[in-house]
Symmetry: C2
Subunit: 229 residues, 2 copies
DNA sequence: CAAATCGTTCATCCTCGACTGAACTACCCG
DNA sequence: CGGGTAGTTCAGTCGAGGATGAACGATTTG
């Protein structure tokens, strides 16, 4: 009757366990090699090739050659948003081990989502920025008032320059664990980069979880009056 | 390593063409019978039974018996949001016929999304309400100031009563065609109901597309200064 | 009660796609 | 230039799950 979007084709891409794990890993934000994705998905190199090609053809990831390596990354933040939306309604497998639940905690507290901050940290920072009127919320996107421009600038993020980029400037992304929006888009990516560059956060081994450093903790308290548990 | 949500199981549910069509139809908001879903999915009654059971087990739909009929509806608006998020990144099949493109136009202009208004109409109404400070945006949810409470009341929507309900009061839902947020949640459902009750919109045959009646057009212009194309 | 409608169960068939290993190509490095 | 690594192609196997019709159960209607 009507020409509906072809949800089934995307769904079948996500419906395979290996591909789903690959995509969740790519939600971490950085590009992963084909071999690494093979490990993550638990498949042979040849299998990984096939999966990556299907993901690429489906427009979920983009590939880039670096010498003999194939670097794969998530296509865009709409894809990331769709993954998070799906994660929100997906069944949560029971937590088994202590180590697992610790890893879960870390993930819930702070992580990267594609290329910006998410988890409690991402939501808290966004909320604080809005509260202090350094960011104006509304309409699924954010705007940056003058005070915000200088605040971001002080952190090393040139708002005007970020605004020039072709991708969405400052969109909302609804958090998978918190179910509340946080800053995404080019500005969210810039903020996350700055946090990493200044060593306010560092990546925990083996995933997209982040740890807030003590320097980060101090800075957040001083700058945004955020007291992280 | 970490206990990630089981995206693959949801994905495989959406990965089947018949189920995907059923779900898109259910995005219209009202409950559909098993037989109707069989038609929509293009499968035999027995096939529909199997599909519906899988969707129910996966938590995407809820079922309700009405005599010898089985009424199926979308489980909740998070599921609707996930479907829309997926639709946003899904490939759009090429429009073939004139009739199809007309149907597409109608869908883009105004439709129901689960149980609230979406499309240009949904976004425009939401924007107008925010602009007139009858609704306050921010943080993935909306709030209703005093002026809004009386405005909604005049329309026949009792905000305080709606607020009592267990489901989310007034969340944002990002539109699939417009890519902008519109009013969803219990309040969005109430608004849509009022629009239907007052015959401002009526459902077009065979889908979730809506037509704005001339009465609706007049009212929207008078009340919100909205001039629909 | 009989007939018709709506859905479910079951047994069976069959297709699609995921997986692998082996052979092959491309690239980096000593 | 050769050895090692990263990725790709291909052929062949295999299993999950989707499709179907026939028989049955439940419920409304005449």
């Amino acid at each position: 009757m009507t020409s509906d979007p072809d949800i089934a084709s995307v769904g079948s891409l996500l419906g395979d366990g290996a591909r789903a794990q690959m995509l969740l890993a790519l939600l971490g934000g950085d590009a992963l090699s084909a071999g690494r994705l093979a490990e993550i998905g638990g498949v042979s190199p040849s299998g990984a090739t096939a999966h990556i090609r299907r993901l690429r053809d489906g427009g979920l990831v983009t590939c880039e050659r670096s010498g003999r390596r194939l670097l794969v990354r998530l296509a865009n933040d709409e894809t990331a948003a769709a993954l998070e939306a799906l994660a929100r309604i997906a069944p949560r497998p029971p937590v088994r081990t202590l180590r697992q639940s610790a890893a879960d905690d870390a993930l819930r507290r702070a992580r990267t989502c594609y290329d910006h901050l998410a988890g409690e940290l991402g939501v808290a920072v966004t909320d604080a920025l809005v509260e202090r009127k350094l960011l104006r919320a509304g309409d699924g996107a954010f705007d940056v008032p003058a005070a915000g421009v200088s605040w971001f600038g002080q952190l090393g993020v040139d708002v005007e320059q970020v605004r020039e980029r072709r991708r969405a400037f400052a969109r909302e992304c609804v958090d998978w664990t918190e179910r509340r929006p946080h800053l995404a888009g080019a500005l969210g990516a810039g903020l996350a980069d700055a946090f990493v560059a200044r060593r306010f956060v560092e990546r925990l081994p083996g995933g997209r979880a982040l740890a807030v450093t003590s320097a980060g903790r101090r800075w957040l308290r001083r700058e945004l009056a955020l007291d992280l548990a």
